[in-house]
Subunit: 462 residues, 2 copies
Amino acid sequence: MSDLNIIKLFEAILDKSSIIVGDDLKSRFYHIWKTDIPLESMCLLLPKNTKQVSSILKICNDNQQEVIIHGGLTNLVGSTKSNKNQVVLSLEKMNSIIEIDKNGKTLTCESGAIIEDIINTAKDNNLLLPLNFGARGSAQIGGAVSTNAGGLRVFKYGMTRNLVLGLEVVLPDGTIISSLKKLMKDNSGYDLKQFFIGSEGTLGIVTKVVLRLYQNPKTRYTALAVTNDYQNVLSLLKFMEEKISKNLTAFELLWNDTYKQMVSDKTIYNKYLPDNYKYYVFIEYMGGDFTNDYNTFEKVVIESIDKGIAEDAVVGRDEKEQLNLWGIREDVAVLAEEKKFDQQFDISIPVALIGEVIDKTIEQLENCDGVKTIFPFGHVADGNIHFIIGKDSDDDNLKSKINDIIYTNTEAVEGSISAEHGIGIDKKQYLIKSRSKDEIELMKIIKKSIDPKNILNPGRVF
Amino acid sequence: MSDLNIIKLFEAILDKSSIIVGDDLKSRFYHIWKTDIPLESMCLLLPKNTKQVSSILKICNDNQQEVIIHGGLTNLVGSTKSNKNQVVLSLEKMNSIIEIDKNGKTLTCESGAIIEDIINTAKDNNLLLPLNFGARGSAQIGGAVSTNAGGLRVFKYGMTRNLVLGLEVVLPDGTIISSLKKLMKDNSGYDLKQFFIGSEGTLGIVTKVVLRLYQNPKTRYTALAVTNDYQNVLSLLKFMEEKISKNLTAFELLWNDTYKQMVSDKTIYNKYLPDNYKYYVFIEYMGGDFTNDYNTFEKVVIESIDKGIAEDAVVGRDEKEQLNLWGIREDVAVLAEEKKFDQQFDISIPVALIGEVIDKTIEQLENCDGVKTIFPFGHVADGNIHFIIGKDSDDDNLKSKINDIIYTNTEAVEGSISAEHGIGIDKKQYLIKSRSKDEIELMKIIKKSIDPKNILNPGRVF
């Protein structure tokens, strides 16, 4: 069917303002960091409810029309790229928070809801959505579900998967699968929501989500500790787990170059500790005792210095100091000077091996002509390290060389090439370094059974 | 192909002692509680490794031969029943614990490993496998994974799903899917293990498991608190979450009749509190401070009495007292006097509604001629309540009447007919009360894509 005829079918179910075509597409884009590149698409659709999503998919499936899904456009693996023959469906108008159940500690919302809005709504009700990452002000919950997003509190609360109690999903043929129960435990048949979480929109479009919330901790304190020895990073993690295990909610690591950049003139952040240490560890403590928590935490941090595990440390007390400390850890856009040429990595490796694997990787990268900056950082307690690598150019050979270095080192320790960002388009060719042929074959069998015409986010993952 | 010919094919890959046929089947059974009923099967196979499981399934798939999987035979939904035309495959010989990684806090084992053995191995290494339920001395980890088993610590640590980092699974056609990575985070493509967890052996046979372990808490204390008002059970939960949130590892409930039975002459358990209260709450505290934890916990328990939330309470201090208290909660076989005629339930309902729903259900059951005993108990903080209902006879009408009462009350509050036991054969006809037609249809599509000849655990779930 011609583009015009298909758009006519959409006009029968959506109002005019919900169908963006022609020149109007020029002010739209495929990624939040690429606002200079106009969106390529046959049309951009902005459905307002699940029924419209269902009708759109039915039309597309009947006409074997490819559909690319847009959420908050913060992904780092090219998932939201499209071409002019593809329909783009954005969930931005489906952003309501439908219900918060204070007794049951659940929140139900549409998939286009911004994660920061959900966090704030929970907070207003003295509850916590532990999902927390740098892009939370733009990222939508539907995208977080579809990519099984991680972030800063995985160590304590798990990935997005662990926070999802129910889902409503539209299948490629328009069937609405509604599993919106608010139950903690439900073993009545296959747990279908698990199939859609983390499958990057290739099996269905998430339209509503029931999230599990937690009691909001009354106190939150952050420490920054430094050492020159990775064994001491491990010892510090062990020490904190033993001393404040129940209250330890994040344990994050910056390498020297990354820290230096984050406290340089380019940022607003104060340098609380000198920039000549090899490792900078950010430790978050959450608790319920206004009177004693700060002292408890401070005492443990001081003990870690006395024992020679940390060489030095500071504990942020007030909100301002904590925002500063977390800014150093989270505001990673600062690390991407030339966003066009940057390469982003998101590897998972056994915690005990991180020190040596990253040392080796940095050394190899430093020997690559064209590599300007190497910024490693990450969720060390989860074994998840990110790299942002700045380059002079977009040279394909250099790109491959860098990918090969990092993914070969990852494969050598049975790691994963994607801990939390997903595969999308950009990492497809490296999937075989993390998963066997039989595993990838099984993924394809499942995709084919649910999306036999391959219309939904085609070309993603495998 | 005839039975004899198929068995010949098995003889080519298994030694003789691994193939049980004929009269030897008479000493085998399909359930741990039904040792008087000989196993019906063409043959029982006892493979010793994954390769043998793969070869068996390849033969069965090529010959469209149905296979029923046996683990620890503790399920409560008829999952392990078979007929004389079916091959039964038991994983009992594949019970090795392969590796414990103390640094990474993981344990890798074969799927036939007994859960209690895994718990003990972890404990010997100062680590905790939080999976804990009454049948742990017989149940195998493969069964727990395949049914996404729950238990006493779900509230704190999640279901089995949350404890699985990696799986090795054999597909119906014999393909071995090996995803045995020990990573906390891995978003490289579909998270295939999620498809097998909780699908009750209908999509593949789990052969190896990588489990996530936790730091072993140094202290464990248990309190029993009583009240006559369900609102106070809720208040007590809220109070404990506020006061000892990070250390609260279980919050379990017995109704009066259940408690009475558990401390009657039929058991060895001491009655620490009188048997005239309506609700008996079991509260578990785990912590890391030998010196102060008991006092901290006791103080909070006393405060709950002072505030009028609990009417009375005791705190078990030593191991003996705690074993006694948990015996009262866990030793539920005592509640099943005439196992043949019992009906077991495992429903999930919103926590706030449990009081009224169970009151109503008990009243309706009491009006059923033939119902002898009604024993409700369960994981109240998770919204998961079990019933064991004793009867005079095995009358089908009575059985249906009881099912209808319980499942209609469950459906009315958007609950689940199976919180943790699964669907198996026994609950199939009621699945529609928890899941929509479209959901069940999607389960069938997935089953067909992975097991097109329907040879693996056929007739289970849907």
